[in-house]
Amino acid sequence: MLTVTAVSRSFGDKRVLDEVSFDVRSGRMTGFLGANGSGKTTTMRIVLGVLAAHGGTVRWRDQPVNQQVRQRFGYMPEERGLYPKMKVAEQVTWLGRLHGLDTVKAKANTARLLEQLDLAQRGEDKLEALSLGNQQRVQVAAALVHDPELLILDEPFSGLDPIAVDTVLGVLRERAAGGVPVLFSSHQLAVVERLCDDLVIISGGSIAAQGARDELRAKYGTTRYELVVDGDAGWLRDQPGVRIADLDGPRAVFEPDDREVEQRVLRAALDRGPVRAFTPVVPTLDEIFKEVI
């Protein structure tokens, strides 16, 4: 588990991180959400030691993070970059060795990853000869080649086409399933929604909310129900304890005051005729996000 405790950082007079604390748990994909400039990248850079913290600690498995520990982390920076004139396979292998693998293992891992990422045919090409999407996949391979103990990915899906997103996702899921904690940032809420087990939401340099995705939904999202009947659903307006969010002929979305109300409404609907649908509407991350920041 990665534990970030009370990390602060300023640039000049501007405080960009204010006592940021959160955990990244083993075997879970943790989504790091925040608007542009909210401090996501700064936090990640501090975890990786690329930037120094002005306060607070970063611990990995209850040990302070130092150079040797970091060498076993995998990092995909927001600003992508590899050596443009170096061959793909050679480059990934070299980075593997830089992370401490021996040559044989680095080569084997590279071959396996390029295969998984559909890049096996491009290993002997120079990086600059690849399309941007494919360069991005190489970047993923570079972050994974040394079988990292922890993965930190800054906007791993930006610039990827939908098929590539699925490919990369598959690779990341496999790592998470193997027990590796994965922290990834994104501003594409739909993608995060699909992917993450845990959420950390940062706003203006401090943590606005964190926890398991489903817990956060329950906590911050108002639970709504969608009701579809045969006739007009306008009678719902007169029901006590019900707030109407949307009403359109036979379809209505409402917010009950409590669980009692929700069951009473269902019975009332059945009394009036057939009920075609009665479904809880799960709040989207978008809604949670807007609520907490």
Binding site: V50, Q71, P77, E79, G81, L98
Partner: protein, 360 residues
Amino acid sequence: MAGSFGSATRLVAEREIQTFLRSKGFWIGLGVLIAGMFAATILPSVFGGDPDKVAAVGPRAVEVLAGADLDVREVADLTAAEDLVRTEEVEAAVVPDTTGDSVTGVRVVALKDVPNDVVAQLNTAPPVDLLDQAAVSQDVQRLVVMVFSLMFLLFGLGGTAIAQSTVTEKQTRIVEILVATVPVRALLAGKIIGHALLTLGQVVVLAIAAPIALRLGDQQALLSLIAPALGWFVPFLCVGFVLLAAMWAVAGSLVSRQEDLGSTMGVVMLLVMGPYFAVSFLFDNEPVLAVLSYVPFTSAIAMPVRMFAGDAQAWEALVSLGLLAATVVAVVLLASRLFEGSLLRTGGKVALSKAWASVD
């Protein structure tokens, strides 16, 4: 820690060398250098020059010189001939032998150097008297200065590759992955060591090619003259290169784009060109050369030249080399702090003061 630092340094050096050995520019540069060396040694003997001017005194001298490809000028007596030699109007004078130990009955008088071109034209080599004999001839010394300062210039400028590779890493942003993985100092050390090895490799190639070129140009004599000087030049060149390499790396780390490199390379360029010009122009001014032979940067050329000319003792060379090495240590320490402070800053050019202050 030492192990991982060492292996990171080795990997960085390995990549620098590999990248370089694969670039066309490297091989073209080395090819041009070798071709230039062959051209410089072979071409003069092919094309030759105007016939050398010689003064002749007495009928015997004229007789000996008959048939030789020389521009002969008859003069009245020995004094007149020596005057012409001293004013360098003629390369040498052929005068009657009064001692009796010359088979041909003539002697050759020259200023500082044995006039090989002239003597070679005569059927039997007469004895040669030099009017102003120095320990090492001026011509050879000039040649040594030229060769050494040119090598210093070439390899010093070769250090731009370090600046370029650093900027490439900043520009492509791979630097962020590198810094997250290995200590920044290992990056710097790897670059310096990698390029120092490349330089040494090129020196070795040139050292192997030089005797071949000189033999082809029929100038073996020169080789035996230069060879002892090389013994001092190689360590000075290598240590001097590390000094420049550290500075090139900082020059590269201060900017974020190749296009901006010119603005930071100027100072380092000056430190490479300065010694080249200083020693090339001032090498016959002994006190100045003595000073230059202790000043780091210029000492890399000046001290080997003085050693070669026999003007300095071995301990002087060791002191100078020690000074140079101490400067290297100081500069590398300074450079690694600046390198660390500026490597992750992107945008415009990083001011040195900011690079220095940002380490916390």
